[in-house]
Every structure is written in structure tokens, then in C-alpha cells.
């Protein structure tokens, strides 16, 4: 599973980087989305992979065995990252719309490249 997980993260990151380097704003937006998936998976992976070990405490407070639960720290970090990611995507989308309205082009530099 680790191999698949690592490959998946890498493929998302690679596709994201490719798109982020492209000249059209929509491509960059898609790239940003893919790259943030990769980042979220990467941060989430910092807790190592754990199946059937949801970090919800059952039983009494006294007998908590940390080994029985997945790591909640990266989960909490990723959760906020997902919501912030939505907000920045929205902001970027609006900025690229405004750019397009102002300059008449969807090139990231705000003007078509010469030749």
C-alpha cells in the first residue's frame, strides 16, 4: 500500500507542477488544485498509513492505548488545509477572472507572449 500511496502522491504532484508551469490561467488553477491534493496526501501520510484505526476514543479515558489509533495530528492539519485550499482556489479564480477582464487575455503575465 505504501508504494501505491507514494506513487499516487508523486503523480498528482508531477501533474500539478506541469500545469503550474503552463501559461494559461485555467491550467494553473487546475494545477493548483492537483498540487494541493498531493500536498494534503503528503501531510496526511506523515501520520503513516493505518487501516481501521479511526482516532475516535472508545472506552474509558484511563485506558487509552495510542497504538490503537491513527495519528490525529496530521489529520487535523490536513482538515484546515482543505478548507483554506478552497478559499485560496476561490480567490485565485476571481483574480484570474479580473485579470482576464482587465487585460483581455488569460495568459498568466497579463499579455500574450511576443511571437
Amino acid at each position: 500500500m505504501e508504494v501505491v500511496y507514494a506513487l499516487a502522491t508523486g503523480i498528482l504532484a508531477g501533474a500539478g507542477v506541469w500545469l503550474l508551469l503552463r501559461p494559461r490561467t485555467f491550467q494553473v488553477l487546475m494545477g493548483l488544485t492537483l498540487f494541493s491534493y498531493a500536498t494534503n496526501l503528503f501531510i496526511f501520510g506523515m501520520g503513516r498509513l493505518a487501516v481501521h484505526r479511526v482516532p475516535m476514543i472508545d472506552g474509558g479515558a484511563a485506558s487509552v492505548d495510542p497504538a490503537l489509533y491513527a495519528d490525529p495530528v496530521p489529520q487535523a492539519l490536513t482538515l484546515t488545509a482543505i478548507v483554506i485550499g478552497f478559499a485560496t482556489t476561490a480567490l485565485f479564480l476571481v483574480v484570474l477572472l479580473a485579470l482576464r477582464g482587465l487585460t483581455g487575455t488569460d495568459h498568466v503575465d497579463g499579455r500574450e507572449p511576443e511571437a
Binding site: A8, V51, V54, V64, A70, T78
Partner: protein, 964 residues
């Protein structure tokens, strides 16, 4: 009381900033009374200081780092503080009459008072770091005052130059002080002054000395940093009188004398300081002889006199130090009065050009007398205070000369400077006041108001008084000041007008007669207004400008190289840097060989990511020409990610991700409409070789980045972590925070402050989006009807059917089905919110679910139809949400607990059962409200763009959401 002396001017400055722009009298009274209060406070402290006590005020701040607010008043500091405060009072009176009604006088007095406070802070500081802070404040306020007439180019230029030079010196000083503190082991002034031997023996001594001296020389306008002072003459004349003759420029030599016990007594000290001082003395005096601008003469003369003081300090003998302190006081009095006289002349005649001024003696006799006496003091004529300190200087030049092997150099230099000094003083008086009355003056002058004459006259009276009765007037003060630097073992000196025939007297006579001869010879040959011989070609100010321009252009080049204007290159550089940074840990450990066993491979997970990878790669290659297809594929990747979260025990993440997927999809779909049409065609696909090379390069970078992320992820997954944080949260979640869902507990409790910050950011982003869209102007072709709709008819239809029970269009069945969705989704979202503490859910997911339900109404029923029935106010939701979360956090204060401490109370309700009423639930409710508001605000604002044009022509039936 000590703190009050420094605090008062700053308070006054603040108050002056708030009186009306034309309340000149109020501002002047305020400034004058503040200065007067400082004078009185200092006077009240005099008995203590005179007794040899050091008055102190220490407020510990960061004792471990040796930082404290510390004020310290000894005899020397008292003398200087008194000079600053009393001179301030006189300048305020003068300025009240000097400034014209058109100027914003309160602004002037506000800056002046701030400067006074900074200057008092500098001289009273008992901690070196604090001293540097006040020192920099004086530079800053000086900048504001020089640039007071900011509409004038020369004022801006002069202010900029002064700021750059003195601030650069200030940085150097800070560095020197930090090193000094490291050498001594503390920044307290007393500690430093007592540690002179340690400092001199330390290998850092040369660096410390040079850095501090650089600060001193820039501040006191000493060679080679002297050039800023003449440029600063663009300031209003009261500023020149106060800052650039009596106080600010004196701060440098003040500090040099202050640190004298700690730093003096080495060859380096002698050569560096007397060298800079001697050069300034001669260059200043020589240049002053050729200036045409009245204030220019005085500026160069100031450089020269400060050079004299520096030279005395550099001579490194106790007696020379006494002479230096004495001359500081004398120079301040006669130079300030001369500046005031120059200001009067400019005020009355409208010019400062010495070539145009003549014979003013007939028109303004009192001013002429005052100025003549002050100029005589400057020249060192007997019976003036300038004569006394100059005599001491001559005597010391002989002593120091013979001690250092410069037997003739020092006395010769001193006499030569004396000659020039007499010459420029004489030239000033002769050209301006004597001779026939000038006929082509811009204004016909007369005596000024008494308010302007008074301060100047008071200072001149002080010059005379000290000059005639030195031992009775300034003697005790000088004694106290010198004692606080040198300690009780003071050298023998006598303040008297007549010492008998001696070498210094001879030098004075040579200087006086030489000066007269030099001036007469020069004016006979008509060279009075020639450019300064030798020096005019080495205009330091011009060189400064050239260096400045070169530096700015050079940094522009470097910036252009590092930060290319093209975004793609910037992004590329960021990725390359990230790749290098990511490689470093791998190089050290290698990817393989972890200690964790591999989990068993599940083929369905493999298949899942086969689809996910296909989607990602497909999206990467389709995003240019097939946006919708790319968007759908990215959505597919999102879903696979979401399933991955669920697979690996993160139900909260999976829930949030799926909700975010929905809103993101809607968001981008709404945005797609405004992007330019780009149809796939062979012509567009044909690429130049350069483009092809670029794509190949990007592909390589993407492959390396992706591969790197893979390897890094794999390396981490195979290794166990430090395991410090995780057990803490797991163990304390239920026990301390009373929640079973650890992730949620972390968000709302353990890391509540972080979450609070985050929802604030989300709210800000939403409002930014809203604000950007208010001014949004779409590209013209986007406004045309698309291939799929006829906009105008659709709008009209929507408006016509606004009162129908169902909206028009093809979605009527869906609209009927969507209607019960809203209350249902509302209940579900609240359920998610409430259960969040113990089971998957929480404010983020709940909010997103609620927002998507509302958005579904918009999509299926049309904006106009929905808003005629359902009014949401997302801005209010955001505000209330943020306030709710803040209130939940603040509630802890009622029990004197820190912000965001969780409070719990278990309540038993009939029917419902046990319920935990916790402040964290309130906090999560705030998160919920804010997320609903922010999501809706963003989506609805974007949706409203379609209504942009019709709203200009047709009055909408429904009031728009907000003022979109």
C-alpha cells in the same frame, strides 16, 4: 520625574498632531509649555546632580538579555538635556513668528517635540540599546523636519540624503554597541563605562571602535560624511538652528564623550578621531569662506566647529575633553543665534544670497548688532565665549602636538582653521550688514517682530556673559559635567579671559590678523564668490548621488535577474529551489531501509489509484483546450483522494473533502463562463521549436518533482516517527477536553487559536472575493450570448416568471425535488455540527453541507427567482460566526482563564438525555456560521456576475443579494 522629562515631549507631539491644521497659536503654546516644563523639571533635579548623585530610573523589561528601560541623569547628561530643553523653548518662540500662516504649523511643532523627546531620550539613556533606539528616532524626526516643505525638490533630496547617511551610521552604531555589549557582558551604561580596560584589551576593540565612530561621524556631519549637512539646510530655519547646530549634530560628539572612559586611550582612537576631526575642521572652515548661501556658510562652519570638538576628543587628554564639552555649549549658543539671525534676514528680505544682500545695518540695526556679536563669538574674538574654548583648543593643540610627535602639525592646523574661521565670520558681517544698502532685494526689509529677535538676543547675551565672566557662570556646570565623565580626579584648568602672554594667545592673534588679511586679499582680487578652490571638484554630495544611482540601478538589475517579470520563470525557480531543498534529507538517509513493515496490498486500492492517476494525467493534458473535461477529471482525482482518506482511518477528512469537492466544482463551473473561448485546432497545436524545448524542460521538472515527492513520501511511510505529540493528544482528548473525536477536539480545543486564525482568513478571503467582483468588468466578448443560451431572453423570462410557483426552464422537476432538500440539509448539517465532538463531523463539514444546499436552490431555480423568496446575508453570517467564535473564546475570561480555554457543563435534559454544553460547541458553531457565510458569499457573488448587464437597464424585482 526622569521618565516624565522624556515622556512629556512625545505626549506633546501627539497632542500637537491633533490640534486643527491652522491652530498655530495653540500648537505653539503647547510646544513652548512642554519645553518649559522639561526645563523646570531638569532645574528641579539640579541640586541632586550637583551633589554628584546619579538620578536613575530603571524598568526591567527583558533582564535575561540585558534589556531595560533605563534613564540615567548625571552632570554631563544634565548639561546636555538642559541645552536641548532650553534651546527647544527658544526655538519654539522663534518658530512661532518665523513660520508663515500658509504652513501647517501644528505638524511642524509635532515633529519638533517628537525630536526633542528623542534627543532627551538619547542623552538620558542608561542602556546602550535604548540609546541607539532614541538615536535612530532623532534621525527619523530630523528627516521629517528637513522635508517639512515636502513640495520642494531640494527639501526632499536633502532629507533623503540626511536620512540615508545618518541611518546608515545608526546601523553601524547598533552593530558596534551589540559587539560592545558582548565584550562587556551587558548594555548598561555604567557597566560599560567601568569596563574600559576589558574593552581595550579585547580583540574586537578595533571593530567596536570603528563601528561606533562611523555612527558618530555620520551624525555629527564629520569628514567623510559631512556632505549631508549643507543639503539639510533646505529645512525651515528654526530646524537648522535647533537640530543642525545645537542638538542633533551634537549627538555624535556627545556620544563620543559619553563613551570616552570606555574607549579612549589607544593609538587607534587618537588617529581615527583626530584625523576625522582635523579634516572636518579644515575642510569645513575653508569651504565656509566661499559659500554664497547664508545658511551654507553656517552649515560648513558647523562642520568645522564640530570637527574642532572631535579633534579635541581625539587628542585624548582630560583637559582636551573639558575643552570639548565647553566648546559644545559655546558652539550651540552662538551658532543657533546666528541661524536665527539668518532666518530673520531671509524672512525680511526674501533671500539668503550673500551676493545680493548689502548694508542691512541701516535697515535692521538690532539684528545687525546681534548677528555681529554672535559672529564675533564664532570667530573667537576676546570677551566672547568662543574665544575661551578656542584658547583652550590652541593650548591643547600644542600639548597634544608635542606629545604625539606632531609638534608643528597640530598647532599649525589649529591656527589655519582659526584664520579661515575669522575670514568667513568677517565676510558674513561685511557682505550682509556693511556697505551701501542693496537696491534689488525681493522685499524691502525692516526690523522683525520682537518674538523673532528675543531668542537670538538671549543667546547672544549668554555668549557675552560667559565670555566675560566664565568662572562665575558656566564654570560650575562645566565642572559637574566633566566630573561625571572623568571622575573626581579632574585636571587643573582655569576659566578666565586673561591668562597672561602665552603661546595660545599668540596663536589667537595670528588667527585674527591672518583672517582679516586673508579676507581683504580675497575681496580685493574679487574672489569672494569664487567656487571653493580645490574642493569644488570633489563635491561629496554629487558623489553620493552617483553612488546612490549606481546602487539603485545595480539592485534593479539583480532583482530583474532573481525575480523575472514572467510568472512562469518565477514558478520554475520556486520549484527548482524546492526540489533542491527536498533532495537534501534524501541524500543523507536514502529512501529505503525503513523500520516499519509494509501494510498488505489491497488490489482495489490499486485500481482506485489507477483511475486517480489516469484522471490526474488526463487533466494535465486537457486543461488547455478542454476545460470542462479537465475539471471533471480533477473532480475524479478529488473523489479518489477522499476515498483514500476514508480508507486510512480519517473519516473527518473524507467528509470535509467531499463537501469541498462539491463547492469547488460549482465555483469553477461558475467561473468557466468568463474565460476566453479556446477551440482545439491543428493550427494552435503547431508549436515552435522554442515552445517545444520549453515544454520538454517543464516536463523534466514535473517528472523530477513528482518522482521526488514519491520517494520522499515512501521514505517517510517506512519510518516510525518521534511519537511525542500524538500520544499526548490521544490520551488527553477524552480526559481533559471531554471529546472522543480527537481530530475535532484538536481543532476546537487544543489548537483552537489556530482554527480561530484560520476561519478569520477564510472570512477575509471571502470578503476579498466579494470586493474584487464588485468592480469586476468582464471582457467584452464574454458578455455576448454564448452558443448555448440567448442571455437577454433568459433574463426576461426569469423576471416575467418571478412570481410563479415554479421557476421557468427545463429544471422544474429537479426544482420541486430540491425544495425539501434545503430543510433536510439544514438538519443534517446541524447534526454534523453537534455530533462533531464525539463522532465524525464538526463545524467545517456542517457549514459546507448547508452552503451546498443553498447553492443547489440557486442552480436549479435561478438567481432571480430564488432571491425574490429567500434572502441570505452571507456577510452577516461571516460576522456573526466570527463574533460567536470569539465570544466562546472570551467566555473563559469570566473564570479568569486564558483566551479559548474550553469550559464544559453536563446538562440532563428530559427526552434528549445527557448533553455536554461546552464552550467548544459554541466555538464550533461560530466556525459553522462563518463557513456557511464565506462559501455562500463567494459562490453567490460569482453567480451574480451573470446579472450584471441586465441590472443596469431593468430594475430588478428582487433586491439583489447585497450590493453586488
Amino acid at each position: 520625574m526622569l521618565g516624565l522629562i522624556v515622556l512629556l515631549p512625545f505626549l506633546g507631539s501627539l497632542a500637537a498632531a491633533f490640534v486643527g491644521p491652522h491652530a498655530r497659536n495653540a500648537a505653539a503654546w503647547l510646544a513652548g509649555l512642554t519645553a518649559l516644563a522639561c526645563v523646570l523639571l531638569l532645574a528641579a533635579l539640579f541640586p541632586q546632580v550637583a551633589g554628584g548623585d546619579i538620578v536613575r530610573l530603571d524598568v526591567a523589561w527583558m533582564p535575561r538579555f540585558g534589556l531595560a528601560l533605563s534613564f540615567r541623569l548625571d552632570g554631563y547628561a544634565w548639561l546636555f538635556a538642559m541645552l536641548v530643553a532650553s534651546m527647544g523653548a527658544l526655538v519654539v518662540i522663534y518658530a512661532r513668528y518665523y513660520m508663515s500662516p500658509g504652513d501647517s504649523v501644528p505638524r511642524f511643532f509635532s515633529f519638533l517635540l517628537a525630536f526633542m523627546g528623542a534627543m532627551l531620550g538619547t542623552v538620558l539613556s542608561g542602556n546602550l540599546i535604548q540609546l541607539v533606539v532614541f538615536w535612530e528616532l532623532t534621525s527619523l524626526t530630523s528627516f521629517m523636519l528637513i522635508a517639512y516643505w515636502y513640495q520642494r525638490e531640494d527639501a526632499r533630496r536633502g532629507a533623503r540624503m540626511a536620512l540615508i547617511v545618518t541611518m546608515g551610521g545608526g546601523l553601524s552604531l547598533l552593530l558596534g554597541v551589540l559587539m560592545l555589549g558582548a565584550v562587556v557582558g551587558g548594555y548598561d551604561l555604567d557597566t560599560v563605562l567601568a569596563a574600559g580596560d576589558t574593552i581595550r584589551a579585547h580583540p574586537w576593540y578595533p571593530a567596536v571602535l570603528l563601528l561606533i565612530v562611523a555612527g558618530v561621524l555620520t551624525k555629527s556631519a564629520q569628514f567623510p560624511f559631512h556632505f549631508w549637512l549643507p543639503q539639510a539646510m533646505a529645512a525651515p530655519t528654526p530646524v537648522s538652528a535647533y537640530l543642525h547646530s545645537a542638538t542633533l549634530v551634537m549627538a555624535g560628539v556627545f556620544l563620543l564623550a559619553r563613551l570616552w572612559p570606555a574607549l579612549h586611550g589607544t593609538d587607534l582612537w587618537f588617529w581615527v578621531i583626530s584625523g576625522a576631526g582635523g579634516a572636518s575642521l579644515l575642510i569645513g572652515a575653508f569651504s565656509a569662506t566661499y559659500q554664497r548661501d547664508l545658511k551654507g556658510v553656517l552649515a560648513y562652519s558647523t562642520i568645522s566647529h564640530l570637527g574642532l570638538i572631535t579633534l579635541l576628543l581625539g587628542m585624548d587628554s582630560p583637559l582636551a575633553l573639558v575643552a570639548a564639552v565647553f566648546h559644545m555649549m559655546n558652539h550651540a549658543t552662538f551658532k543657533a543665534s546666528l541661524f536665527m539671525a539668518a532666518g530673520i534676514i531671509e524672512h525680511e528680505t526674501g533671500t539668503r544670497d550673500i551676493k545680493r544682500l548689502r548694508g542691512l545695518r541701516h535697515l535692521m540695526p538690532i539684528t545687525a548688532t546681534v548677528a555681529t556679536v554672535a559672529a564675533a563669538a564664532m570667530a573667537g574674538v576676546p570677551l566672547m565665549n568662543g574665544f575661551l574654548s578656542k584658547e583652550m583648543f590652541f593650548a591643547e593643540a600644542i600639548v597634544a602636538g608635542s606629545a604625539s610627535g606632531l609638534r608643528f602639525t597640530f598647532p599649525l592646523m589649529a591656527t589655519l582653521a582659526g584664520v579661515f574661521s575669522v575670514a568667513y565670520s568677517l565676510r558674513l558681517i561685511d557682505r550682509v550688514f556693511l556697505g551701501p544698502v542693496a537696491q534689488d532685494l525681493p522685499r524691502m526689509p525692516g526690523e522683525p517682530t520682537r518674538g523673532m529677535l528675543l531668542p537670538s538676543a538671549v543667546l547672544v547675551a549668554a555668549c557675552l556673559l560667559v565670555g566675560v565672566l566664565p568662572a562665575q557662570t558656566v564654570g560650575p556646570l562645566l565642572h559637574i559635567a566633566a566630573r561625571s565623565i572623568l571622575g573626581p580626579a579632574l585636571p587643573q584648568y582655569e576659566l578666565a579671559v586673561w591668562h597672561g602672554f602665552s603661546a595660545p594667545l599668540l596663536m589667537s592673534l595670528v588667527a585674527l590678523s591672518g583672517g582679516v588679511v586673508f579676507y581683504v586679499a580675497q575681496s580685493r582680487r574679487g574672489r569672494t564668490f569664487a567656487p571653493t578652490p580645490l574642493l569644488s571638484r570633489w563635491d561629496a554630495a554629487r558623489m553620493f548621488d552617483i553612488v546612490n544611482a549606481v546602487v539603485i540601478r545595480g539592485s534593479g538589475r539583480v532583482a530583474g535577474l532573481l525575480f523575472p517579470s514572467r510568472l512562469q520563470l518565477q514558478v520554475l525557480m520556486i520549484f527548482l529551489a524546492a526540489i533542491v531543498a527536498g533532495m537534501l534529507p534524501l541524500l543523507r538517509t536514502g529512501p529505503g531501509g525503513g523500520n516499519l513493515p509494509l501494510t498488505t496490498f489491497d488490489p482495489s486500492f490499486g485500481l482506485l489509484w489507477l483511475a486517480g492517476a489516469a484522471c490526474a494525467i488526463g487533466a494535465a493534458f486537457r486543461a488547455k483546450f478542454h476545460r470542462l473535461a479537465a475539471l471533471i477529471m480533477v473532480g475524479g482525482v478529488g473523489l479518489v483522494t477522499c476515498l483514500t482518506f476514508a480508507w486510512f482511518s480519517a473519516p473527518d477528512l473524507a467528509l470535509t473533502q467531499v463537501a469541498v469537492e462539491v463547492v469547488t466544482l460549482v465555483l469553477i463551473l461558475l467561473g468557466l463562463r468568463w474565460l476566453p473561448e479556446r477551440l482545439d485546432s491543428e493550427a494552435l497545436r503547431r508549436r515552435t521549436p522554442r515552445a517545444r524545448a520549453r515544454r520538454a524542460r517543464d516536463l523534466v521538472v514535473a517528472l523530477i518533482a513528482g518522482g521526488g515527492v514519491s520517494v520522499l513520501t515512501y521514505a517517510v511511510l517506512r519510518r516510525s516517527g518521534a511519537g511525542v505529540l500524538t500520544p499526548f493528544f490521544l490520551k488527553n482528548s477524552l480526559e481533559q477536553a471531554g471529546g472522543r473525536n480527537v481530530v475535532n477536539v484538536m481543532l476546537v480545543d487544543f489548537r483552537g487559536f489556530d482554527t480561530f486564525g484560520e476561519i478569520t482568513v477564510v472570512g477575509i478571503v471571502a470578503i476579498t472575493v466579494y470586493a474584487l467582483l464588485r468592480r469586476f468588468r468582464p471582457a467584452p466578448e464574454s458578455m455576448a450570448p454564448t452558443r448555448f443560451e440567448s442571455r437577454a431572453s433568459a433574463e426576461e423570462m426569469a423576471l416575467a416568471h418571478v412570481n410563479d410557483p415554479l421557476p421557468p426552464g427545463e429544471f422544474r422537476i429537479a426544482a420541486v425535488l430540491a425544495r425539501p432538500l434545503l430543510p433536510l440539509a439544514g438538519v443534517v448539517s446541524l447534526y454534523l455540527l453537534v455530533r462533531g465532538h464525539h463522532a465524525p463531523g464538526g463545524g467545517f463539514v456542517g457549514g459546507l453541507v448547508m452552503a451546498s444546499a443553498v447553492i443547489a436552490q440557486y442552480m436549479l431555480n435561478g438567481t432571480i427567482w430564488v432571491e425574490s423568496r429567500l434572502r441570505v446575508h452571507p456577510l452577516n453570517w461571516i460576522g456573526i460566526g466570527l463574533l460567536t467564535a470569539a465570544a466562546a473564546g472570551l467566555s473563559a475570561w469570566a473564570w479568569s482563564l486564558p483566551f479559548l480555554t474550553a469550559l464544559t457543563a453536563s446538562v440532563h435534559l428530559p427526552l434528549v438525555g445527557e448533553i455536554d454544553l461546552a464552550s467548544v460547541l459554541l466555538f464550533d458553531a461560530g466556525v459553522y456560521l462563518l463557513v456557511v457565510g464565506a462559501t455562500l458569499l463567494i459562490l453567490v457573488a460569482l453567480a451574480h456576475q451573470s446579472l450584471r448587464r441586465p441590472r443596469k437597464t431593468v430594475t430588478p424585482v428582487a433586491a439583489p443579494l447585497e450590493d453586488t
